[in-house]
Symmetry: C2
Subunit: 315 residues, 2 copies
């Protein structure tokens, strides 16, 4: 099994009344700066503030009644946690979210605010996985992985589906890559709709495992230390072959370029995006590939930022 | 002479292809927080990042060919300066902008970026007015006051016109008040389109000259010390009678409420607004008037913020 355009279209039918159809914004000033036409798909305006609402909602509403009745579970400290809790509440079932004990109070409160049950674990991958296994054994809940799951990938691909419905003739589509859920779905949707489109992913130089994996043909674990906290994970086993088959290139950008791109988008477009969202525009600004005269779609992945710790204010 | 709905409609025809028709955004979360339906007119996405583009453009394109050929001039350190420079460039004429010598390099650069000629003066009102008078005498340029001008008021009123076209059945419309250009235009447009609509203005407690002027029936000069830097000016002589005749009430809010409202809108809506823009929502949050069950339009005036000096980070 894998996913194709039809699966993504079905996901869109399943979730479209449960998510925002986010706007596509443009900026004449940024277009002039890079000599291209840029179309920003604003998932920072999505429910829970990130594209993760798409995949989690598709996964939860793909479950049978019997499966759903036992609830859902995941381990995540980020946007997927809130997205899964919200999707479960929409379906009226329980959500068990394992979060590391050092995750921020704000993030824990977000999950609880959507009715999710937070289970704290020690802040190691092993502890998280063990805690999650216990929850699954006790409850029979369905495990919804943040990205290594076809239902999640199909849901994430609906952002590119909408973007290409609104702006049908893009030459190039850009997405950041962390675990690969968004990138897999984006690539399948884009190549399915327009076989000639180019799909390029961007990631931080300091978390360049996806680029290295892509080049070497095997998954290389992430050793990440980047401000783009959504992009610190390693590629999923299900995501990797889809990415290899459908993505044209993966490029990397410096931390300084990420911060500068984030700030430029805030200043110019008056919208709040998180550091991970700024990575594709950073790649354009650093001229990692040719965009002159081209029509370029960019997925802005989310807008959940700690307003007390903006990166340009750190010493 | 004064202005009426027909004048504002004519202004809209004059400028509509030279400005953005800005979106109207909603937030279920903010609606739930106050028990009303809020419709935010996003002038933070306007050209030059503020509603000021409307009034300046209307004024410049209202000039005869002979008048325009001699250029335009103003004294301003804020958004009107950039807006006038931009409008003049669109018309292909000179803009002479007197700015105080302590105005920020960023603001001076914005004016020059639109082709405006910056004339620096000592940072007193008298010095600014004298410098402006010299420019007018030397060039014969048309003086475009930031708010005490019917052409400017009519232009500013086009934001409310668009808002009520998009959301026709508002019970209440809110705008901040500084010099009164936006408020005059908003009130004329709103009452002209819907005589039963309520128009309420909000201003900082620490710059409450408009509320006191409104209550006492004479213009009381501003003695302002507020973070809402767009609202520090005194009411204009032409604005005041329009406001008295068409505005239902003026309320004031604390500095802490302004900062909290600004941050809440950033966090919830993922958009960047400047402190002045947050003043009406602060008045809702502080329950300065009844909104429960009502449909409320709010003009978000601008998004030009110094990202190095966010108010919640000040010690």
């Amino acid at each position: 099994m894998s996913i194709d355009l039809a699966v993504i279209r079905a996901a869109h039918e399943r979730i479209r009344d449960k998510i925002h159809r986010t706007p596509v914004l443009t900026s004449r000033r940024l277009d002039e700066a890079c000599g291209a036409q840029l179309f920003f798909k604003c998932e920072n305006f999505q429910k829970v503030g990130a594209f993760k609402a798409r995949g989690a909602t598709n996964a939860v509403f793909s479950l049978s009644e019997a499966e759903a009745a036992r609830g859902v579970a995941t381990h995540s400290s980020g946007n997927h946690a809130a997205a899964l809790a919200r999707a479960a509440r929409l379906r009226g079932v329980a959500a068990h979210i394992v979060m590391p004990s050092n995750s921020s109070a704000v993030k824990q409160a977000a999950v609880r605010g959507y009715g999710g049950q937070v289970i704290l674990s020690a802040p190691t991958l092993q502890a998280r996985e063990e805690a999650c296994a216990r929850v699954l054994a006790e409850t029979g809940a369905a495990f919804i992985h943040p990205y290594n799951d076809y239902r999640v990938m199909a849901g994430q691909g609906t952002a590119a589906l909408e973007l290409l419905e609104d702006v049908p003739d893009l030459d190039l589509i850009l997405a950041p890559v962390g675990g690969g859920g968004l990138l897999s779905g984006t690539a399948i949707a884009a190549k399915g709709l327009q076989p000639g489109i180019q799909v390029i992913a961007a990631e931080p130089e300091q978390a360049d495992d996806a680029r290295r994996s892509f080049q070497e043909g095997r998954i290389i674990p992430a050793q990440a230390n980047t401000i783009a906290d959504g992009l610190r994970t390693s590629l999923g086993e299900l995501n990797f072959p889809i990415i290899r088959a459908n993505v044209d290139d993966i490029v990397t950008v410096s931390e300084a370029a990420i911060v500068a791109a984030m700030r430029q988008i805030w200043t110019t477009m008056k919208i709040i995006i998180e550091p991970s969202s700024a990575v594709p525009y950073a790649a354009i600004a650093e001229k990692k590939f040719a965009v002159a005269g081209r029509r370029v779609g960019i997925i802005l992945t989310g807008g959940n930022v700690d307003l007390d710790a903006l990166p340009w204010l750190k010493s």
